[in-house]
């Protein structure tokens, strides 16, 4: 047999095997990937035994999730972001109750100045001030602007950036609430 023919046949056969295997594993891998993503998201929630499942994956630009504890819904979870940080983008997961009170802000990506910007990281006193404040209320401003939030001295821009991210996410919360009403009705 000619060498070229041998190479081509072997290559074709092996490619066929791989294509079949890929056809079989691709959906499984996607499924595992989704599971892993949901498992990672539970870390953003206030309680470790809460679970997450998708609420609004289709259509919109942002992904919105349910959070639940023992199959009882505890609220919504969605991503918030802003470009108003001292050095650019800040991204976090926001967990709110069904009515819209902030439960936890879990910042996972920021480039704020080390030693100052850490105030927005999970479980820091500054970021915990937001807990219990309604996402759509006037409390969501710095005290100097008539709100309930104390800015951190030296990190005013970072403090404002978090408020900016939260304000931008109000529409997401309204969409989530709307979708829930649709499901109920």
């Amino acid at each position: 047999m000619k060498p070229a023919l041998i190479l081509a046949t072997t290559g074709g056969l092996l490619a066929l095997i791989l294509a079949l295997l890929n056809h079989w594993t691709a959906p499984q891998i996607l499924e595992r990937q989704a599971e892993a993503k949901l498992a990672a998201l539970t870390r953003a929630l206030p309680h470790p035994d809460e679970t997450v499942r998708p609420l609004l994956p289709k259509g919109g630009t942002s992904e919105i999730y349910w959070s639940a504890q023992a199959s009882e819904p505890t609220g919504y979870l969605f991503g918030i972001r802003t470009n108003a940080g001292y050095s650019g983008k800040i991204e976090a997961w926001l967990s709110v109750t069904l009515s819209g009170e902030i439960r936890r802000i879990y910042t996972f990506s920021h480039k704020e100045t080390p030693g100052i910007g850490h105030i927005i990281e999970p479980d820091q006193p500054f970021i915990r001030q937001f807990e219990g404040i309604h996402l759509l209320s006037d409390g969501l401003h710095l005290r100097s602007n008539g709100g309930e939030i104390d800015a951190v001295t030296g990190a005013t821009i970072t403090s404002r950036a978090i408020i900016d991210a939260l304000t931008r996410s109000q529409a997401t919360f309204i969409a989530a609430r709307g979708a829930t009403k649709e499901l109920d009705g």
């Binding site: 060498p3 190479l7 072997t10 095997i17 791989l18 295997l21 594993t25 891998i29 990937q33 892993a36």
Partner: protein, 226 residues
């Protein structure tokens, strides 16, 4: 390339010790150094490399009639690359998070010279039984070095053993692993630690070999003098 020559296949212990791919031939060091910072990742990659090595040797031995001088290298690489791709597809389908950790290095097994080396030196000349045994021997040789390095580095660098193994593989193991050291040496889990560990392993092997050799010569000289 005569079958006759290769049919006297080398001893099984060659791959495990005297001609170990990692300690003597120094082949396949890229994955060996890169993923041996945790026992669980090291053992996983070791198992995959072992499997690929045996399967590649077997397949290439079966394809001996097709291996003309001109196309033997592309054929061998094609077989090895396909086997690695199969592993790379199967691993995430069952152990997704484990694959997230070592995924890049699974694909890199293709470039593990230890595998192509065995195909070229052994499998393309040997009948199937010898080729499979050779793959098993060399693969196990690589595997045990991988295991020892992974466990040593994790214990020295993190103080734990099999951390996260439970979550990643589904075995009933505590998530934090078994705590063995209170004050670990962090550098051991970083890149320099990989080189230190490998250096000590190689030195240790050479020391054992020399001691054995001098004992044997002692014995011989005693026998001749008495």
């Amino acid at each position: 390339m005569t079958d006759h020559q290769a049919s006297e296949h080398p001893a099984f212990s060659q791959g495990l010790w005297s001609n170990n791919p990692a300690l003597i031939q120094l082949l396949g060091l890229c994955p060996l150094l890169a993923v041996s910072h945790y026992a669980v990742t090291a053992i996983t990659l070791g198992v995959i490399s072992l499997t690929v090595m045996i399967a590649a040797n077997g397949l290439i031995s079966l394809m001996r009639p097709l291996m003309s001088e001109l196309i033997r290298l592309p054929l061998q690489i094609m077989v090895i690359a396909s086997l690695v791709s199969i592993a790379d597809l199967l691993l995430p389908a069952f152990y997704f998070e484990l694959h997230e950790r070592i995924g890049l290095f699974v694909a890199l097994i293709v470039t593990n010279c230890a595998i192509l080396g065995r195909a070229e030196l052994m499998a393309r000349r040997a009948p199937i039984r010898g080729a499979l045994l050779d793959g098993l021997s060399m693969g196990l040789g690589f595997f045990w070095v991988m295991c020892v390095m992974g466990m040593l580095r994790e214990v020295l660098g993190r103080g734990t053993l099999f951390a996260e193994a439970g979550r990643l593989t589904g075995f009933p193991l505590p998530d934090r692993g078994i705590q063995l050291l209170e004050t670990p040496l962090q550098i051991m889990v970083f890149a320099p630690g990989a080189f230190f560990t490998l250096a000590f392993l190689i030195a240790g092997k050479n020391y054992l070999d020399q001691r054995n050799e001098s004992r044997q010569t002692d014995r011989i000289s005693q026998q001749t003098s008495s």
